[in-house]
Structures are given as structure tokens and as C-alpha cells.
């Protein structure tokens, strides 16, 4: 078992190395484990413990597997959301990426470079220049001004005072904190404090931004503002982001892809639409039950074959159009819409298709639920 694991790891790093540069994935994580507890090293890959639930494992070994055999890749420029309830291991996972927490086993590569093989200095360089993190509790230094907090990362890099302050000023403006540069963190609201945290991370111009539940300490309206801020920044800069959250709507709103975690393992990894439309198991289905499906699922998934002259009549919409927008179009015209990609009509949607999505009767979403009920 361990033999094949090492073999896999080896080939993976080799692949990653060849695929390095600016095109491959930013992070490539393979078979990652983080186990807390006595003699944690014996747990990963051990078939004896493989089938145990988290509770059984703790009872048998006294160990907790916070991250359990996780493999994924973060593509360049995407917002990769890791979602799960508290205790699912997501915060531990994001910390292992830059070895703020040392993983127990597995491999992590950033731009194809093996993170676990890095020595202290290289690791420090990685943290100084390639990644930057935004924390749930902000982690600001109360004795410094907003400006000096934002410039903190640059100071650690060894940048001179005038230069780093000038650079920090730019970032302060970018996150909408103009005029507050000379305030202390205690004088700011929670949302403003997190803007400082965000600015501090942006100031070092990192390749990847890591967010650890950055907005869960904020109240809902401010949280929405901040989410929009992140979306705007991503649109403007296209920076890769790894975003940890326990809030499904936040995940759906921000994520290009979402990785759902439970008890340290991956339950499902896919686009928001895939996760809502095709839940991998009952746990995920339960999770996404209350989602407004029409706001996540696109017409590509809802359309049917065109009948007769339908392919030439009706308003044209793109296949990525969300169902909610299609509903508006259909309601306005009173007729069906054509789903058009380029010059080709892929299919049509009318009221019944769109209503099926809203009701959750489309495709396989309704079917397995029926099966589950039958099985009980």
C-alpha cells in the first residue's frame, strides 16, 4: 500500500515538475493527510484504519484525522472554494498548503515545486512572495496604524519604510479604506478590519490568496459587501484564490469550483452547478436542499430537444444563462426560448422545463431521492 503510494507521489511530482511554469495548476495536492494525536504517522494509508469513521478512529487510536487522504488541484486564476461544516478539516487543510500546519503525509506542489521538500528559508520565501492569507479573526496588530498593518508583509520582506508605505497606500485605496490610514484597528468596524486584513494580503502581491473563513465573523450585510469586494478583485486581477467557508451560499456565489469536505475527506468536487444538480450522496443532497436551484443551474442542463419549428422561433439565449434569467425571458415573451451556442440551436426551454428545475424534478436530482426513500 505504502509502496504504491510513494510510487504515485513520485510520478505526480515528476508530472508536476514538467508541467511547471505559468500554465499548470497552482496547487497540486495528492493523498494529503493530517492526523493529530499520538504516533500520528501510523494512520495514513493503513488499511486497518481505512474504513473507520472519525469517532471510531479516535476511540481506537486516540488520533483525529483532520485531513484524510485528500487530492485536488487548484487551477490558475480560479476561485477554489473548500466548504464544510466546522470540524470538517477545511481550516487545517488550508494551513497545510503553506505548512503553517505540517501535514502528516502526502504531497503538495506549488507551481510544480514540492512544498514539503522546502527548507526553512525557501518556505519563508514562499510565504513572503507566493501566498498570502486572510484570517477569520483578522490577526491585525493593534499597536500599528491601518497603513502599517497593511505594510506589515512588505516590512517582513525587508522593504524600506517609504517604499512600503507608498505601496500600502495604493492597496488601501484599492480596498476602499481611504482616509482611515492613520486609524488603529480597534477604531474600525469588523468589516473595515477585514478590509485591512485583505489589503495586507494583497500588498505583497501574492500569486495565491488563501482565505480562511474570512467573513464568518461579520454580520450578513457586511458579509455580502465583502463577498462582492472579493468578486470584484477577482474580476479585476484574476488572482488565484483558495477560499474556505462553511456558508453554502457564499461558496456558490464565489466559487468557480467547490470542494465539499466532511470528516477530513472530500465528499464532492465540482462546479456549483454540478454540486446542486448532481449531489454525490445524501449528505450533499441534504446540504444543497434549500438552495434556490434556478439561481445556480443553467439552461444547458434544463433544455430539451427542439420540436418542429421551435428551433427557429422564440428568443435566443446562451447555454450558460441561469434558469432564473430564462424564466424572466419566457415570462416576458410568453413563449419558449432557444438555447443558442454560436449559430447552432442546442435545444429549447419552456415553462415546464424551467418549473421542473425550480421544483427539483429535473434530471437525476429528483430520481435518487425517490430511490433513497424506496430503499428505506
Amino acid at each position: 500500500m505504502t509502496g504504491t503510494d510513494t510510487a504515485k507521489t513520485a510520478t505526480n511530482t515528476a508530472e508536476a515538475a514538467t508541467g511547471a511554469g505559468r500554465t499548470g495548476p497552482v496547487f497540486a495536492v495528492r493523498d494529503l493527510w493530517k492526523v493529530f494525536g499520538p504516533r500520528a504517522q501510523r494512520i495514513p494509508g493503513n488499511p486497518e484504519y481505512a474504513g473507520l469513521s472519525a469517532g471510531e478512529l479516535r476511540e481506537r487510536t486516540g488520533c483525529t484525522a483532520a485531513v484524510r487522504d485528500v487530492s485536488f488541484e487548484v487551477k490558475r486564476g480560479e476561485v477554489f472554494v473548500v466548504m464544510g461544516l466546522s470540524g470538517s478539516g477545511k481550516s487545517t487543510l488550508v494551513r497545510t498548503l503553506t505548512r503553517l500546519i505540517e501535514p502528516t503525509s502526502g504531497s503538495i506542489a506549488i507551481d510544480g515545486e514540492d512544498v514539503l521538500a522546502m527548507d526553512k528559508n525557501r518556505l519563508r520565501e514562499l510565504r513572503r512572495h507566493q501566498t498570502a492569507m486572510v484570517f477569520q479573526n483578522f490577526g491585525l496588530l493593534p499597536h500599528r496604524t491601518v497603513l502599517d498593518n497593511v505594510a506589515y508583509g512588505l516590512e517582513i520582506q525587508g522593504m524600506g519604510k517609504a517604499e512600503r508605505r507608498a505601496k500600502a497606500m495604493e492597496v488601501v485605496a484599492k480596498v476602499g479604506l481611504e482616509g482611515l490610514e492613520q486609524r488603529r484597528p480597534v477604531q474600525l468596524s469588523g468589516g473595515q478590519q477585514q478590509r485591512v486584513g485583505l489589503a495586507r494580503a494583497l500588498a505583497v502581491d501574492p500569486e495565491v490568496l488563501l482565505f480562511d473563513e474570512p467573513f464568518s465573523a461579520l454580520d450578513p450585510l457586511i458579509r455580502r459587501d465583502m463577498q462582492e469586494e472579493v468578486i470584484r478583485l477577482h474580476r479585476e486581477e484574476g488572482r488565484t484564490m483558495v477560499f474556505i467557508t462553511h456558508d453554502l451560499s457564499e461558496a456558490l456565489r464565489l466559487g468557480d469550483r467547490i470542494m465539499l469536505m466532511r470528516d477530513g475527506g472530500i465528499v464532492q468536487l465540482g462546479t456549483p452547478e454540478e454540486i446542486v444538480a448532481n449531489p454525490a450522496d445524501d449528505y450533499v443532497r441534504d446540504f444543497v436542499r434549500d438552495v434556490a436551484r434556478e439561481q445556480v443551474i443553467s439552461v444547458r442542463r434544463a433544455m430539451r430537444q427542439a420540436d418542429g419549428d421551435e428551433a427557429t422561433t422564440g428568443a435566443a439565449i446562451a447555454p450558460d444563462t441561469l434558469v432564473v434569467d430564462a424564466i424572466e425571458a419566457v415570462a416576458r415573451t410568453g413563449a419558449h426560448c432557444r438555447v443558442v451556442e454560436g449559430n447552432r440551436t442546442l435545444g429549447v426551454v419552456d415553462e415546464s422545463q424551467l418549473l421542473a428545475v425550480v421544483a427539483g424534478l429535473d434530471g437525476d436530482a429528483g430520481e435518487p431521492r425517490g430511490k433513497a426513500v424506496a430503499a428505506v
Partner: protein, 668 residues
């Protein structure tokens, strides 16, 4: 004889068994309580039968002869032995010349220069500018030095201040270094913590004894003892600050790639600033207390006139230096506290580096100007003509108190009547009971109480402590001291709990007594003796009263805080069920505040005991007087054994008042 012996076990059993022994069934449920009652019974019966229970002579060990020999050897070799020549003498010479240097520095500044320096530094610490805090601290400094001069205490105050400056500088430096060690390394913390814990329980004078032995009487002993006495708070609070830093901030620092040095310098230390300033404040206050106390080993300064005045019971002479000490204490406390408050103040804004330098330049320039003006006017020393003597009016008042208040006031009696009554009806019976009980029965009871509240280890420690006292041949004298300590402790707790509960429940009481407690807690122990001399003109009761006054603030404060900090929803629930005030107190507040109350008892023990020696100076007698004699006359056999006996009593009382659970929690 039988009446007092009956009274005693009931008293000693009280702290051990929180619930009154009710029915046999309830007793049976608590085997420890049964053992305790049995031990008490044995003690009472044996005391009634034996009538006297002194420690047997054949169980004592002669420790005085070797101690005296050792002392003589030290005196003979102090100038010749290599250990002294190449190590200890360097310390004492350096200390001495440093203190002299600071003193001549203060002298050359002149009284104007010193006053202006004190005012400007206080102003700067308070945040500078025209802020209220800065002006108030500056005003405090001005008032302090002006009054010290007016009272004719300038010269001794500068003596005290010079010794203080050197001691605080060294203690703060050592404290920060040890604090860094304990804050950054778990192993160092595990090693240092028990040392600091022990040091905090030891009474101040016990630091003087060993250094008098090594350095002889004078400034070096005072310096070393003060530094060692004052280091723990600085070290402890530095470590606490370093360990208590916001983990998110530290993680943020790590995630940005800070190395260990950057993390310490940019995050850990700045985040610990507030705690470190608090540590500096405590170190300064403890230094002042010790420097004043060190007068009895010839350190000079403000303590000296008090010490002399106490010997001849002259309140008029003792009051000016006493007031000067209190003023110094308030000035030092306010200045360092203001510096701490400034960190919390968000309105403080940010001072650019240039403004900060300008302000510092203002301070230096102001001091220089004042010095120049002073020397130009030819006024270096505080002018004689500006001194107001308050000795005579004060003595008139004291005389009036003695004549009018000492006895014969209808219904109330009088101060002397109270003192005599307390001695006759409380202290004497208590002492007879302790002396009358056979030593082995006392050991048994003490061991049982310690076992009941703590563990077997506590019981063994207690028995051992009493054994050491007996073996040194100090049984009777120690029992005398113990009776005074127990009486003072009982009085302290009675008054302290009453006021503490009142302050916790009634808002305005708390607001009124808070500044009073603040002031009382900053005053050095020595100062408490002066009013007691005025009111009771010495004796055992005066000593007990001084101890009570000294220990009260801490007990009141801990009680109030303990009761205030209980879960408010529990109290709200009781109130919503219609509980009366008494029910709220009995059923919710006191039970929930129990850990705090136990801590208050323990603090009371430590503080009362630390006053024993000082009370010895005004007629407390017994061990206290032995220590004072030993320290002043260089009779170390006498002083050291009595000192060890007091520390043993301290260990005894500490162990039987501090349940294992509380010990563990405070340790964390």
C-alpha cells in the same frame, strides 16, 4: 484553662470543613471530616489532661552555634576569601558606586532640576500635550516633590530615589530577560514558575536575611535583596504577555513569512507591551516597599527617620517621612499606570517619529533649563526656609488622641480599652490554647486540616514545617506569633468579606472605596505602622491592627471581583424565581464565588504574615522582634532561625488555606 482549649479546635476546624458537621450520616459521607473531628477531639482532650504541651527539649537541634560560627567566619573572611574578592565584592562595589552615581546626579540637577524632570517625565508618560491625563500625572509629580521638600524630606527622599533607580533598572532588565525565557521556552517556564510562585509567598524581610549574611549591613545587601524581591512580577507578566498574544496575529505574522526574530520584534513584544508595563509598575512598587524596609539593614533613605521615630514612639517625627513615601508611591504608580493606559486609548492617535523626538527634546531641554536656573540662583538644595515642620502639631494631635480617645468614652470605650480587651479576650486565650495543646496533638490537627483541604503532600509539608519550628527550639515564640497571625487573619477576613460583599452588591460603595483601596495597595508596609502608633501607641494589638489594615485591600478587592464575576445569568435566574437578597447571596453569589473567596483567604495569610516582622517593631513581640534584632544587631543566629520559623508558619497557613483545586487553577 479548659474554656480556651475548647474554643480553639472549633476555630481551626472552620476553614477546613466548609459545611458544619451536622448529623452522623453526613459526617460518614465525608471520611476526611470524620478524621478531622477525631483529631480535634484528641487535641482538646490531651490539652485538658496535659495542661502544657511545649516541644520537648531532647527533640530540638542546636542550630544557633553553627550559625553563629558561620556568621563569624563570614565576618572574618569577607575581605579575604576569593569568592568575595573576585565575585561578591564586585557586586557590592558596583551597586554602591551606581547608587552613589545616581545620587550625585540628582544632586547636581538640584531640587529644581529634579522636580522639573519628574513633572516632565510624568507629563510625557501621560501622553504629553494638554490632555487631562498628562496634566493630572504632571500635577501629581509636582505636588509630590513640592510636598516632600516642604516636609523637609528632600535629602532622604533623594537617597531612597537613587537606590530605587538602580534597583528598578536592574530588576526590570533581569525581569524582562527571564520573562523572555519563560515566555518563549516551555522548559524554562516549567523551571521558573515554581520559583516565582515560592518567591511571591515569601515575606519581604526573608530576602534581607541571607544578603545581610553575605554582604553585611548596608546598601549592597539592600540592593541585591530588592532586585531579587522585585524581579518576579516583571518576569511573570512579560512571560504572560508573550504567551497571551492574539494567536491570530501571530499566525498572520507567520503566514507572511516572518522569521523568529521578526515575529518576536514586530508581533510578540509589541502585543505584550501592556502586560510588561503592568509588570514594571509592580516591580517599581515592590522596589519602593523593599527599599524602605531595607532601612533596618542600614540602607538609609526615607525609612530611617520612621524607624528611629518608631523606636521612641514619636508620631510627629514619623509622619513626614511616611507622607513622603506615600507621595512617592502615588507618583510612581500614577506615572507608570498612565503610560499603560495610553496604550489602550484609541484617541491617542499616532505620533509620528518626529513629534516623539520633539517631545523628548522638550523634556530634556526643560530639565536642563531648570538645572541652569537653579545653579544660577545658587539654590541646589531645597532651601531651609521653605521647610514647614509639622512635628509639633502632629504630636499635639497624638497627645490629644492619647488623652481623650484612649479610654473612658461612654459605650465605645476607647482605643486603649479596645487594645487591652483584644489582647485579654482574644490574643491571650488563643496563645494559651496553642501553647497548652501538646505539640504532637497540634501536629495531628494541622496535618489533618491540610489533608482535608489538600492532599497527603500538603499534610506532610505542614507537619514538617511545624517540626522544623520545634526542632529549632522556637515552639513557644512561634505559637505566640501564630496566635497574633490567626487573630489578625480572622479579623481581616471578617471585615474584608463584609466590605467586599457590600461593595459587590452596592455600586456606590464600590466606587467610593476603589480609590481608597488603590492608595492603600501602593503604600509600603512600613507606613501602616504610623497611624497605629498614633492610635494605640504600640503593643500587640497595634501590630495586629496594622496587619489587618495592610491585608484588607487585597481581600476586599478579590472578594468583590469574585462575586461580581459570577455568571450573571445564574443570578438573574435566582432573581426571576423571587430569591431574596439573602437567598441570592447565600445560594448563588457566595457558592459561585467560592474559588475567589478561598483565594482571598490565602492572600490574606500571605499579607498578614509579611507584616509580622514589621509589627514586631512596634511591640508585636515574639518572632518579629527576633528578626528585627537579628537584622539590626547582626545576630544572624537569632534573626535567621526566627525568619525560618516565620516562613514555616507561612507554609503551614498557606497549605491549610489553599485547596488543591485552587492551587492548580492559579498555577495555570
Amino acid at each position: 484553662m479548659s474554656a480556651p482549649t475548647l474554643e480553639r479546635p472549633a476555630k481551626t476546624a472552620a476553614p477546613g470543613a466548609p459545611q458544619p458537621p451536622g448529623t452522623l450520616a453526613r459526617l460518614a459521607a465525608h471520611p476526611k471530616a470524620v478524621l478531622l473531628v477525631l483529631a480535634a477531639l484528641v487535641a482538646v482532650v490531651s490539652a485538658a489532661v496535659a495542661g502544657s504541651g511545649e516541644w520537648p527539649a531532647d527533640l530540638t537541634v542546636d542550630v544557633r552555634t553553627p550559625l553563629t560560627d558561620f556568621n563569624e567566619w563570614l565576618v572574618d573572611n569577607r575581605t579575604t576569601h576569593p569568592l568575595f574578592l573576585y565575585f561578591l565584592l564586585h557586586i557590592s562595589n558596583t551597586a554602591e558606586s551606581a547608587v552613589d552615581g545616581v545620587f550625585s546626579g540628582l544632586e547636581s540637577l538640584g531640587f529644581l532640576g529634579v522636580t522639573v524632570a519628574a513633572v516632565l517625565i510624568a507629563w510625557y508618560a501621560g501622553g504629553a500635550g494638554l490632555r487631562k491625563r498628562a496634566l493630572v500625572t504632571a500635577g501629581t509629580a509636582l505636588g509630590t516633590f513640592g510636598l516632600i521638600g516642604l516636609l523637609g524630606m528632600w535629602e532622604p527622599a533623594m537617597d531612597t530615589l537613587s537606590l530605587m533607580v538602580v534597583c528598578v533598572a536592574v530588576a526590570a532588565l533581569v525581569g524582562v530577560l527571564l520573562g523572555l525565557l519563560a515566555g518563549l521556552s516551555d522548559r524554562a517556564e516549567r523551571m521558573l514558575r515554581p520559583v516565582f510562585d515560592t518567591m511571591q509567598v515569601l515575606p519581604a524581610f526573608s530576602y534581607l536575611l541571607p544578603f545581610v549574611l553575605i554582604f553585611g549591613i548596608g546598601v549592597p545587601s539592600a540592593f541585591v535583596a530588592t532586585v531579587i524581591y522585585a524581579v518576579p512580577p516583571m518576569a511573570r507578566l512579560t512571560a504572560l504577555g508573550l504567551r497571551g498574544a492574539d494567536p491570530a496575529a501571530l499566525e498572520a505574522s507567520a503566514s507572511l513569512g516572518a522569521n523568529a526574530w521578526q515575529r518576536l520584534w514586530t508581533a510578540r513584544l509589541p502585543l505584550a507591551r501592556k502586560q510588561m508595563l503592568l509588570g514594571l509598575n509592580q516591580t517599581i512598587m515592590m522596589s519602593l516597599s523593599m527599599v524602605v524596609l531595607a532601612t533596618i539593614i542600614g540602607a538609609g533613605g526615607l525609612g530611617e527617620p520612621i524607624y528611629k521615630a518608631l523606636a521612641v514612639v514619636d508620631v510627629g517625627l514619623a509622619l513626614p517621612p511616611g507622607v513622603a513615601i506615600v507621595l512617592l508611591a502615588i507618583w510612581l504608580d500614577r506615572t507608570t499606570a498612565a503610560a499603560g493606559e495610553r496604550l489602550d486609548d484609541p484617541d491617542e492617535g499616532v505620533r509620528s517619529a518626529r513629534t516623539a523626538w520633539i517631545l523628548r527634546a522638550v523634556v530634556v531641554a526643560g530639565v536642563a533649563a531648570a538645572t541652569a536656573v537653579g545653579s544660577a540662583l545658587g539654590k541646589q538644595e531645597w532651601p531651609e526656609s521653605w521647610v514647614v515642620s509639622i512635628a509639633d502639631p502632629v504630636n499635639d494631635v497624638t497627645g490629644w488622641i492619647e488623652r481623650e480617645l484612649s479610654a473612658g468614652i461612654p459605650l465605645l470605650g476607647g482605643t486603649q480599652t479596645w487594645a487591652d480587651g483584644f489582647a485579654e479576650y482574644v490574643l491571650n486565650p488563643l496563645r494559651s490554647a496553642l501553647v497548652g495543646t501538646p505539640w504532637w496533638a497540634l501536629l495531628l490537627v494541622a496535618g489533618m486540616i491540610a489533608y482535608a483541604v489538600g492532599r497527603l503532600r500538603a499534610a506532610l509539608t505542614v507537619v514538617l514545617a511545624l517540626g522544623v519550628i520545634g526542632a529549632m527550639g522556637l515552639w513557644t515564640r512561634s505559637m505566640d506569633t501564630l496566635s497574633q497571625v490567626i487573630a489578625a487573619l480572622a479579623l481581616t477576613l471578617l471585615i474584608g468579606f463584609a466590605i467586599g460583599v457590600l461593595a459587590a452588591r452596592v455600586g456606590w460603595v464600590e466606587r467610593v472605596i476603589r480609590p481608597v483601596l488603590d492608595t492603600l495597595q501602593t503604600m509600603p508596609q512600613f507606613v501602616y505602622l504610623i497611624p497605629m502608633i498614633a492610635l494605640f501607641s504600640g503593643g500587640r494589638f497595634a501590630g495586629v491592627a496594622a496587619s489587618v489594615l495592610y491585608a484588607l485591600p487585597a481581600v476586599i478587592r478579590i472578594t468583590t471581583q469574585g462575586i461580581r464575576q459570577i455568571d450573571p445569568s445564574a443570578l438573574e435566574a435566582a432573581r426571576s424565581l423571587g430569591a431574596s437578597t439573602g437567598q441570592q447571596l447565600r445560594q448563588v453569589q457566595l457558592p459561585l464565588a467560592r474559588p475567589a473567596l478561598l483565594l482571598a483567604v490565602n492572600q490574606g495569610v500571605v499579607l498578614v504574615l509579611s507584616m509580622v516582622v514589621i509589627a514586631g517593631m512596634i511591640g508585636g513581640g515574639a518572632l518579629g522582634v527576633d528578626v528585627v534584632k537579628g537584622l539590626t544587631k547582626g545576630d544572624l543566629a537569632l534573626g535567621l532561625t526566627a525568619g525560618i520559623a516565620i516562613v514555616c508558619l507561612g507554609v503551614l497557613l498557606d497549605r491549610i488555606t489553599q485547596p488543591a483545586a485552587v492551587r492548580e487553577r492559579t498555577a495555570r
